[in-house]
Amino acid sequence: MKIKNIIFYAILGILALLTLATLILIVGYLLINGLPHINMEFLTQDPKMMGKEGGIFTIIVGTIYVTLVAIIISTPIGIAAAVYYTEYAKEGIIVQIIRFFTEILAGIPSVIFGLFGFAFFVVFLGMGWSVISGGLTLAIMILPTLIRATEESLKTVPMSYREGSLSLGATKWQTIVKVIIPCCKNGILTGMILGIGRAIGETAAVMLTVGGALKLPTSLFDSTRTMSVHLYMLSSEGLSQEKTFATGALLIIIVLIINTTANFISSRLGGNNGN
């Protein structure tokens, strides 16, 4: 009996530690090999020779543009949808259908989003490979993340706040805007940060909708390249080991910062009531 127990716990422990070790290995390996190549020059110079030389300045700008478009479009829609679920909808068939499709949307693979974005925004709406096509595609992709985060935090707002506000003669909308949503700002922020993380990390959907231009985008209808796409291009073409590691490490750092911030906001500051 004792031997069996020891073996059982040993297997569990080893597998769990293996998981942890893998994480440390991946993050550590990329940081150790990439960090030495990240410097001011890398961050502030334009890429030269398809990224073999120079930095990734235009790519950082492109990443920011695409992500901004996505988050600016997705945030209000996500908040409004969550508000609909928790404040307006009466549990019924319509809500169930809407919820069901929101879950479905969350499960669609990114390359399908890419195909869709290409067929719809790039070709059908004639937006071409551009910041706006990619931003809109990503906006749809991160929508479920935003809805979920906002809804979770809306649910924790006590009913008594709603009653208190309504009993003072506030309308439903005033109650939502002035009392309920301010209570949820941490939850919403967490959702936005996670959405940003997903947008920055996304590759397949962006590749098919933004294209891969290396010059500085000057309008929403310019093609550009995000860091993830750049990392893919560099690694598949084997142009420069150094620049590839540096880009990978930079992505990891950004993801680490984003995750820690999201965790910090949702756990330390509490999902709610942060004044």
């Binding site: 006590p158 208190g164 309504l166 003669g169 301010p182």
Partner: protein, 251 residues
């Protein structure tokens, strides 16, 4: 003595369940009316019909009329916002918003269009003085209301309610979550408030009803069993059930 609310033949259903039956009652201006009865008797439900807070609950249907100053508040054309502005409410558990003390009080006035900073400052000072909270809070008006004690929070909620200048204040067991000292502070407050306001208070606590109210209604199983001046109810009840309840034989 003016009649503020005139309730006629009120029935209320939650789906198929009838929670209030044939309620007839008058509530008088500048008086305190206490609603007593065992839990589940319908007194809180009744209270919430007076500012239509029951509208928030799905599947509620209502028959009969409730007239406020001779106008039916369940009439389609009646302005719900106006009603709630005139008929304020204080809840069982203190429910200040997670905002500053100042912002809690100006919430109502701002919603109803008061923008002038001086006027808002004045409202804050006036209402906090009315609930005897000014001295305790005047130096921390811009700190979170959640930092106040339970009793202070409840007085803040009363002040928040007064800030929209209601005519009637509905109180749903306002002291049941509070300690005895805070309770007596709020009871003392009620008397002063009747100079300007009509008060309807739901209470579990018989002594409280006896101490503070002018009129008392005894509810049982969704019906009003007896409804009279408080001293009559407590000294000379007409109905056996009222007597049993008041003397503590059940409930």
């Amino acid at each position: 003595m003016e009649t503020k609310f005139k309730i006629k033949n009120l029935n209320l259903y939650y789906g198929n369940f009838q929670a209030l039956m044939n309620i007839d009652m008058e509530i008088y201006e500048n008086k305190i009316t206490a609603l007593i009865g065992p839990s589940g008797c319908g007194k809180s439900t009744f209270l919430r019909t007076l500012n239509r807070m029951n509208d928030l609950i799905p599947n509620v249907s209502i028959e009969g009329t409730i007239k406020l100053d001779n106008k039916d508040i369940y009439n389609k054309d009646y302005d719900l916002i106006e009603l709630r502005k005139r008929v304020g409410m204080v809840f069982q558990k203190p429910n200040p918003f997670p905002k500053t003390i100042y912002d809690n009080i100006v919430y109502g006035p701002k919603i109803h269009g008061v923008k002038d900073k001086e006027k808002l400052d004045y409202i804050v000072e006036r209402t906090l003085k009315e609930v005897a909270l000014w001295d305790e809070t005047k130096d921390r008006l811009h700190k979170s209301a959640l930092g106040l004690s339970g009793g202070q929070q409840q007085r803040l909620c009363i002040a928040r309610c007064l800030a929209v200048e209601p005519e009637v204040i509905l109180m749903d067991e306002p002291t049941s979550a509070l300690d005895p000292v805070s309770t007596s502070k709020i009871e003392g407050l009620l008397e002063e408030l009747t100079e300007k306001y009509t008060i309807v208070i739901v209470t579990h606590n018989m002594q409280q009803a006896g101490r503070v109210s002018d009129y008392t209604s005894f509810f049982l199983n969704g019906k009003v069993i007896e409804n009279d001046k408080t001293e009559v109810i407590f000294s000379n009840p007409k109905d056996k059930k009222t007597e049993d309840y008041i003397t503590g034989r059940f409930g």
